[in-house]
Symmetry: C2
Subunit: 337 residues, 2 copies
């Protein structure tokens, strides 16, 4: 009863089940794969695999299906994901290069990923934390209304309109801008609040009051709140795979809709050696996703932002992993400009 063959059997079971959606039996296995042994032997192997918790039988005397643990072992044993086909690669490249705008790039990316994998795609906007301050602008819209604009080195622009308690003059505003900009120009956004605090404390008394309001707005703009957006695509793919989700797809849709949940989910995923992270079914911390798997990876500078897909545990992991990795790479390249 050799160890390698048992793993081979597991692999075969996973592949067949992913392909057919039906519990796979010992006989069918020897027919479809060239294991060099008889079905009885396979049965013995399967008994062991079941004991180890890698596969399970829905009911006595029926074929086996992989457990989450089984998928896990299967995924861990995929040493090299197969690369995409040449036309696929080309399609990715041309599609992404056609975008003119950060929003547009992200939008195209998420759609592409959904289409490529036939699953729900999720991309997180590039995190601004790692970027630095490129420019700050204050515009006086009305005597007590100021537009605060923050431009980051990664090209994101954020703005907010604030109301000041008292009137402020153009000249004062210009001076304020000059002082703050020189204090924080080039500063990492993550470090912005601290630097702003210092800058504010050094303001002359006359500017102090207005400065406070404005500095608070800048802090918010730099904060994680606003720019930690995620984009979704391909939710319709969930509906196609009804039956893969024993319960309903309701909880999954709910989770997808809660940006907070998805952000935490993505941020908790850590890559392994291959640079791709996989969460399988019950490994997922959120109850609603216990029937779903997530395949994700980082992209962009420092791989700080994430992107990935979500689908049924019974998914084609090798192909999905390849697609996710490829898209992340192309996206990183595009963003480098």
């Amino acid at each position: 009863m050799s160890e390698p063959r048992r793993l081979e059997v597991l692999r075969a079971i996973v592949e067949d089940y992913v392909h057919s959606r039906e519990p796979v039996g010992s006989k069918a296995l020897v027919d479809r794969h060239q294991l060099g042994v008889s079905s009885a032997t396979i049965r013995n192997d399967m008994a062991v695999l079941e004991e180890e918790g890698l596969i399970a039988a829905p009911h006595t005397s029926s074929g086996r299906i992989p457990t989450d643990k089984g998928y896990r072992l299967f995924v861990d044993r995929i040493s090299e994901v197969k690369p995409l086909s040449a036309p696929e690669k080309k399609a990715i490249q041309t599609l992404l290069e056609g975008a003119d705008d950060l929003d547009d790039v992200m939008d195209r990316t998420v759609r592409l990923l959904a289409q490529l994998t036939n699953q729900v795609a999720v991309v997180q906007f590039p995190r601004v934390g790692g970027a630095s301050v490129r420019h700050i602008e204050f515009v006086l819209l009305a005597p007590q209304q100021i537009l605060v604009v923050l431009i980051a080195s990664n090209g994101t622009v954020q703005q907010r309109i604030v109301r000041t308690a008292a009137e402020i003059q153009e000249a004062e505003l210009a001076e304020l801008r000059q002082r703050i900009l020189s204090a924080v120009s080039g500063v990492k956004l993550a470090a912005l609040p601290a630097e702003l605090g210092v800058a504010q404390s050094q303001l002359p008394g006359a500017l102090r009051a207005h400065g406070g309001t404005i500095v608070r707005a800048l802090e918010q703009l730099a904060g994680v709140g606003r720019d930690d957006r995620i984009l979704l695509a391909g939710t319709a793919n969930l509906a196609r795979s009804t039956g893969d989700f024993p319960l309903s797809i309701g909880p999954i849709l709910e989770a997808l809709e809660e940006q907070v949940v998805m952000l935490r989910l993505l941020s908790e995923m850590e890559y392994d050696a291959r640079g791709i992270s996989v969460r399988i079914g019950s490994e997922n911390p959120y109850g609603g996703l216990s029937e779903a798997s997530v395949v994700a990876t980082g992209y962009g500078p420092g791989a700080g932002a994430k992107l990935g897909v979500l689908g049924p545990t019974r998914m084609d992991y090798p192909t999905t992993m390849a697609a996710v990795r490829a898209v992340a790479r192309y996206l990183s390249r595009i963003l480098e400009e």
Copy 2:
């Protein structure tokens, strides 16, 4: 065989079916409602209603269910939608007033609407076309890179980074800004392209080249493309009502995901006297939505932007219509500030 009673029977059938999800028979009808007649009479009425295409029987000798045409008549006969309960009103108000930002307002609105109706909510961002130019700002980020910001009177801020063919000096840019701003300040966004054309033709030759690039960016910012976004919430509610969608919810999710489709759908809806528009099942031009109904209305200045919900044809129209109308009113009020 009186006409008013037949309509009463239709109303009763719709209400019972919406409530129970099951075909309703003549006996059950007389039990649950105080029609003053016997089941046999109701049967005669139902036969007529069926002949008129207002109700149908899934199979011989089974209860009747309303057809789309039946729902239509039912909806048209709702003269006055019942107002929301006081606590509901209060909840709407406090929730929406807590928002600090246009994006935040819209986000809260769409979630609120989804929760209130237990259906999928859709809101379109306020259209900028009706608003006017409040401020324009150009910021030189790099020798050949300009940030163009357009602030509209409704508080929306849009920006884009453009690259110029040749270098431009701070001073030139300031002059350009001065000229363009004075030409288009207060102009309606819808009329902006025309005014920009005039302004550009009057630019001194030196500024002409750069002006073109920038003007084009401004036109795009004012255009419908960018700001015709929609927000979704409550897609999980679709899953709960499986069974209401004989086919799968896949096509519906697909339609929801295509912003273009939803925008056209909303824009095609015209209000009736009550200010609310309802599209029932097959009245919907998009195949995937033939099992769904849309209840929508306009909001904001000129009621140019739309908001509404989407659900199964078998929905509680009176309540839904009330909720949609109430939310639209509160939203309009908030936006007026």
